[in-house]
Amino acid sequence: MDLVGIAPVARFQHAPSRVHPCAHLPGARNVISLAIRYPDALFVHAGGGMAESIFGIERYQNLVIGRRLQAATLRLTRLLEDHGYATIPMPVSGKWRVHAYKDIPTDWCADFSHRHAAVAAGLGEFGLHALVITPQFGMRQRFVSIITAAPLDPDPLYAGPPLCDHCMRCVKDCPVQAFDARRSACESVTIGDRTFQYAKVDHWRCAWSEQLNMIPEEGPACAGQSLGVMPPATGPVDEMVMLNTFYAKCHTAGLQAAMTHAMGNCMRVCIPPHLRGTQQALAPLSPKTRPRYIEPIPATPAPRRYHLVAS
């Protein structure tokens, strides 16, 4: 692990009750936040160079780094259990309640937020994109958390220079317009004695690319998937439209649809002010062959057909 920090549960006082540490472990006292950095060259060159490949970042992010994080949480959990403290290792992100659940109003909500835990443990702060930026690695790490009843010395919240200067790159370069960064739309979250603001994220739009790989320019084109579908330009994404479209895309894109990956531009373009010039920037992917876009498939029970957009 490259980063480790400890957050007392008191810093989660404003968390929704079902994703609060004590919702998982009654009597929880602390949350341990861990992170491992991405190999910098793997991150920087993903999709670039002559290789134009996204395979490495996909496999290492989802398989290798994710497993290593979980192995670390298991080891620490066993260590804490050996000392008699109840401890729960949380899984790496990738599981969500897609819809609002009981008193959780948010969709695409995990049962625990590693992002908020990382900030609460002093590892960094939120960027405008609602993701965590650390002073050491900027955006280039992945987090996981452990909830424990052990009394541990807490780490202070990050108090250094701002890690996000609202350069707006993440907002401008998001092809699915998932961010609403208007001041009136921004969300506010209080952790400990600090209050953070970040853009409102339309998780359906984000998932349109990140989970369903429907935007070739965010990675799938590098695997040869030249077929894309844009979400509706404005307004909410209809779930059945999304599903219909996804299945149609997979059917038309063929077997490659099962072997691809999307690396969000918000991840690629964000470099905190103090790392600019140090951390190598990534341009958004721009495949030389223009993807062919089809229109979303309606949610109506009408027969599926493909509406080709002139390219």
Partner: protein, 307 residues
Amino acid sequence: MNNIKARLVDAATAACMDFVGVAPCDRFNGVHQRMRPDAHLPGAQRVISIGMRYPLAMYENAGRTPAESFMAMDSFDTNVMPATLMAAALELTRVLEDGGHAAVPIAVNMYRVHPYKDIEECWSPDFRNDVAAVAAGHGEIGLHGVVITPHFGTRQMFTSVVTDAVLEPDPMYSGPPLCDNCRKCLAVCRMHALDDTATDIVVVGPRTFTIARKDRWRCMWSRKFMLNAEMGPKLHGLDVTIAPPDGAITDTDVQSALAEKGTRGGLQTWYTYAMRECERECVPPHLRGVDLLAAHARAVAHTGAAK
């Protein structure tokens, strides 16, 4: 640099790797430009090839004993070993980064299904881990197009780390030929994926290997999509074989066959495996009749190293 190389070898050994070797980038001049080291890392100087043997008794006995099971082979071949290899590659990457060197760990088992720009082949990886293994001195490429090592024959898996560190290269293998063209690999492939008459060449550094031309779609018909029961699924109770069409196989052919397999095979289609008998039947000349496990144990006792 030698100090870093020693640390890399230590890290690889600690991560269960049986093979670790270093290849200079000019040994990759014979591969497609998009699969060369500098296509992944501008300024690349070396490739570190790491490899891990299959559990030997598991590999030999899979599907051949009264258990009639490929479940362990499935788990380790598709899950545990790739994950262990890539975890080791990540560890080596971190050692290199700690020393101030850029490094890119390479993925395994990912493919571009179709030709991509100037890459004409289907089912192509983004980097040739097999070429890297040969370039790093681990062995040679056999008629089946798979790496054969003097230690374990075909019974290992490789991945690579591309780096700008100028490490001391290892020599390429120069021992007796590891493939004598016995052609068993061609004979045992029920998909007839290996062409009996047409060949291709693979160039690694100064060496050229002649391999049987492989129809990758026919290979994947069994290997990835498990559409031939005799190659493994039958032993898990899935007795559904769907013959591929004559000639070129398309995505649609595979999708239709998978749909039919699912309909006829039910839930068992989720839990099965297809053995690559072209690799298992391959035993290099010097290892025929040799107890691989005993030889390995003797080597470990003699050298203290797992090779």
